[in-house]
Symmetry: D2
Subunit: 255 residues, 4 copies
C-alpha cells in the first residue's frame, strides 16, 4: 500500500502564482449576512458591536500577514491590500486567498462573544476573491469605490430606518418615500424631520474602517526604541488626496 | 461622490469558472498545526476529540453545500468532492474554494468547546486548494493517495509515540530506531514490544473518516417518506473496489 | 551591459500547463475569410482547390506533431485533437497553440500555388483556440457539432448559390426564398428545381475532411514491415457509432 | 441532425481575457531555426536578407494590428508591444496571441522570395508567448533584456565566425578560444586580429531592429495633411534614456 502508485495525482495541481508587481487585493464578503443580521438581531442601520467584531477580525488578519499594508472594512465586507512586491506564499493565489479568508472567519467567530450579547446561532460563512490592480491609481480607485459605496448605502439606510423606526412607516412606505431622492434630499429629510446632521453621525458608519500599520510610541520609551508596530483603525476620507499625503507608506515601502 | 467614476475597477475581476465535467476536489489543511497541536496539548499520536472537531466541521460543510458527494478527513486535513456536473456558484473557483474553507474554519471553532477541554488559545487557520480530476479513476486514486498517506503516517506515529511515551526513548532515539523500517517491521515492533495488533487499533486512526450522504430511515416512518438525508461518517478502506461497489452513488448521480 | 540586471523580467512569464488527462482540441479559423474568398475569387459555394489547400496544411501539421490523432477541416476552419495523455511541450498551452497555428499558416501559404491559379493577394491570417474536453463523449460531441455545422451550412449554401447563379435571383431574393426552410425543403428545392440529389454531391463538401493516421501497406513489402504511417483524408460521417468502431485507435492508444 | 444537441461543447471554451492596464508583450520565436538557417545557407554570423524577411514580417503585423506601439526583432525572434489600454479582441489572450503569430508566419513566407535566392525547403514554424508587464519600467527592462541579449550573442558570434571562416579554426577551437572572455576581450580580438572595430559593424546586427509608428511627411504635401503613418525601422540603443525621450509616444498615447 505504498503511496507512490497514487502520487501522480499531485501533478494535477495547477500553478496559480500571481503576476509580479501588481497590487493584490483580497475582499471578504459575508454570505447571506442579511439573514445573519436578522437572526442575531443586529441594530439598524448599524450595529456598532457587530462592526467591532469585523474590525477585530480584520486586525487579526493583519497581525498575522505582515505584507498587508491596508485593511478596509464596511458593512459585512473587508478588503486587504498586499504590498505590490510581496512574495508571501510565493504569490500563490489560492494560498493567499484561503489563508486570509480562513483567518478572518475564525477570528470573527472567536471575537464574537467579546462584543455580542447573543451567542452565535450558526457558523457564519464568508467568501473571498482576489483582484489585481496594476497601478497605484487603480488601487486608490478601488478603495474609493468601496468608500463611496458605504456612503451611498449608509445615508440611505439611516434615512430608511429613521422612517421605519421613528415615523412608523412600513418598509414599503419608507422605500417609496426615498425612491429617486438624491443625497442632498436625504440629508435634508434627516435634518428637517429628525433633527439629524448626517455629517455628525459616527464616522465609522459613514466612512467605514481603515486599518493601517503605525509605530506606536510609549511613555518612558528609550530614544533608540522606535516603538512597536500596531494596527490602527481610522475612520477617515480616503478618496481625497489628503489621506495619501498623510500615509505615504501605503503606496511606498512596506512598514 | 457618485460610485460610477470608480466602478470600472470591477472590470478587473477575472473569470475563474472551472472546466465542466471534471471532478472538483477542495482540500483544506491546517496552517502550522504541529504547533497548534502542541499548544492545545493534543494527545499523541491521535487526539480523538480533536479529530471529532475536524469531522464535525466537515459535516457542517456538507450540510451546507449539497453538491459535495464525499468528504474525507485525516489528521489536520479534509478533502471535499463536488459532483462532476455541479453548477454551484457557476463553478467559479474562488467562490467554491472560499465558501468551503470559510465554513470549515468557522465550524471548527464553533465545535471546539463541545469536544475540547482547553479553550482555543488563538484563532486557527486553514488553507484550501482546488484540484481537478477528469476521470473517476483519477478521483479514486486521489482518495487512495490520501488514505495511503494516513496509513503510512499513523503506523509510524503509533510506533514512534509508543517508543517515546512507554519505552522512554527520546524523540531522536525513536526516530533512529524507526529509520528504514518497513510497514511489516513496525507492525512487528508494535506486537513484540507493546503487545499491540495494529489492525485492532481504532479504524478512525488507521483509515481516516469518510463522510457520505445517506438516507436515514426512522422508526414509525410513513412508507411514502423516504427518510431524510444524513451525513454519515465511515472509517473504511476506500482503496479497494468493495467500497465503490457499496456506494455507487458517489460516482453516479448525486443523492 | 550585462543581461542579468534585466533578466528578472523572465519571471513574469506564467505557467500555462494544461490539466492532465483531458483531450486537447485546437481549432484554427480563417480571419475575415469571407473577404479573402472574394478577393481570390473562390468558386461558390465550395472551391475544391481552396479546400485542398486547407487539407494539405492540415496534413502538414499532423506530420510534424505526432501526438495529434485526428484532424477535422471544413470551410475555413481546422480542428486538431491531441491524444489525451500527450506530454508534447509539457502540455504548455501557448506552445501547443502557437506551433499548430503557425505551422498551419505557413503550410497554407506554401501549398497555395500548387492548387490555386491566382497568386495570394495578401498574407492570410488564422486565429487559434484551445478547448479541453474531459470525456470521450465530449470529444465526439465536439466533432459532431462541427460536422453538423458543415451539413447545415453547405446545404444552405448549395441551394443559395444555385438560386443566384442558375436562377438569376439576387442575393437578397435567394436569402428570402430560403428563410425558414427546413433541411427537407432545401433538399426538395434542389431536386425539383435543379435536378440535384444533395446526397450525391461530393462528400468533402457535405462531410468535411477527417485526417487520420493509418499504416499504409506497399506492394512487395516484407511481411515483417508493418508499413509506414500516412495521414489519410476521409470524408465520412463521424457522428454515428460506425466511424468510431472502424477507427478505435483515435480514442485508444495513439498510433 | 440539428446542431443544438452538440452545442453545449461551446461552453467548454474558457474566458482568457487579460487583466486591464498592463503592457501586453507577444514574442515570436523561430522553431529550430538553427537547423532552418543551415538548410537555407544563411550567411554567418548574420544574414542580412534573412533579417529583412523577419523585419518585413514584423512590419506586416504592425500594419494590421494598430494597437501595437512597438516591434523589436533580433535573430529569429520578434517582440510586439500592445499599448497598455488596448481593447483589441477584448484583450482575449488566445486571439491576440494567435493572430499575431499567424500573420507573422504567413508574412514571413510571403516575403521570403523577395529577399532570398533559395526557395523555402519546408514550412517554417514559430512559437509565440504572451508576457504581461504592469509598469513602464518593467516594459523597458524587457526590451533592454532583449537588446542586451543581441549584443552579447552578436559580439560572440562575430568573433566566433571570424575565427572559423578567416583564421581557419574548427568550431571547437573557436569555442575554446572564446571561452571565458569578456566583451572587452572579444572587442580587442576583433580589432587586433581582424582589424575590425566592432562598433562600426552594421547597427542592425548590433542593436536589432526597432519598429515604430511615425508620421511620414511627403514632398508637396498639403499643410493640413499631417502625413500618413508608416512603420519605421530603427537600429538604435533603447536601453538608455535618450531613446525614450525621443519617442515619448510609445509609453504615452498610442499614435
Amino acid at each position: 500500500m505504498a503511496c507512490s502508485r497514487y502520487e501522480y495525482v499531485k501533478g494535477y495541481e495547477q500553478d496559480d502564482r500571481i503576476l509580479p508587481n501588481v497590487w493584490i487585493v483580497i475582499r471578504i464578503d459575508g454570505k447571506k449576512f442579511h439573514k445573519f443580521a436578522n437572526t442575531h438581531k443586529f441594530e439598524k442601520p448599524n450595529d456598532e458591536n457587530a462592526l467591532h467584531v469585523m474590525n477585530v477580525a480584520g486586525i487579526g488578519v493583519m497581525q498575522e500577514f505582515r505584507d498587508i499594508v491596508l485593511g478596509y472594512g464596511q458593512s459585512d465586507e473587508y478588503s486587504f491590500v498586499f504590498r505590490k512586491d510581496t512574495d508571501a506564499f510565493k504569490r500563490r493565489a489560492a494560498k493567499l486567498l484561503t489563508y486570509v479568508t480562513s483567518l478572518f472567519s475564525t477570528s470573527y467567530v472567536m471575537s464574537w462573544p467579546k462584543w455580542m450579547q447573543q451567542p452565535l446561532a450558526y457558523a457564519p460563512c464568508f467568501d473571498g476573491r482576489i483582484i489585481l490592480y496594476p497601478s497605484d491609481e487603480n488601487l486608490r480607485d478601488y478603495l474609493s469605490w468601496r468608500q463611496a459605496d458605504v456612503h451611498v448605502n449608509n445615508l440611505y439606510n439611516t434615512a430608511f430606518w429613521k422612517l421605519v423606526l421613528e415615523s412608523g412607516l412600513s418598509n414599503q412606505q419608507a422605500e417609496q418615500r426615498l425612491r429617486g431622492t438624491l443625497s442632498a434630499d436625504k440629508n435634508e429629510l434627516l435634518y428637517q424631520q429628525f433633527g439629524i446632521n448626517y455629517n455628525n453621525m459616527p464616522a465609522m458608519y459613514r466612512k467605514g474602517t481603515i486599518l493601517l500599520r503605525k509605530r506606536v510610541l510609549q511613555f518612558g520609551q528609550d530614544e533608540q526604541d522606535k516603538g512597536r508596530q500596531a494596527i490602527v483603525p481610522l475612520h477617515e476620507d480616503l478618496i481625497g488626496a489628503e489621506f495619501w499625503r498623510k500615509h505615504p507608506e501605503i503606496l511606498g515601502k512596506y512598514v
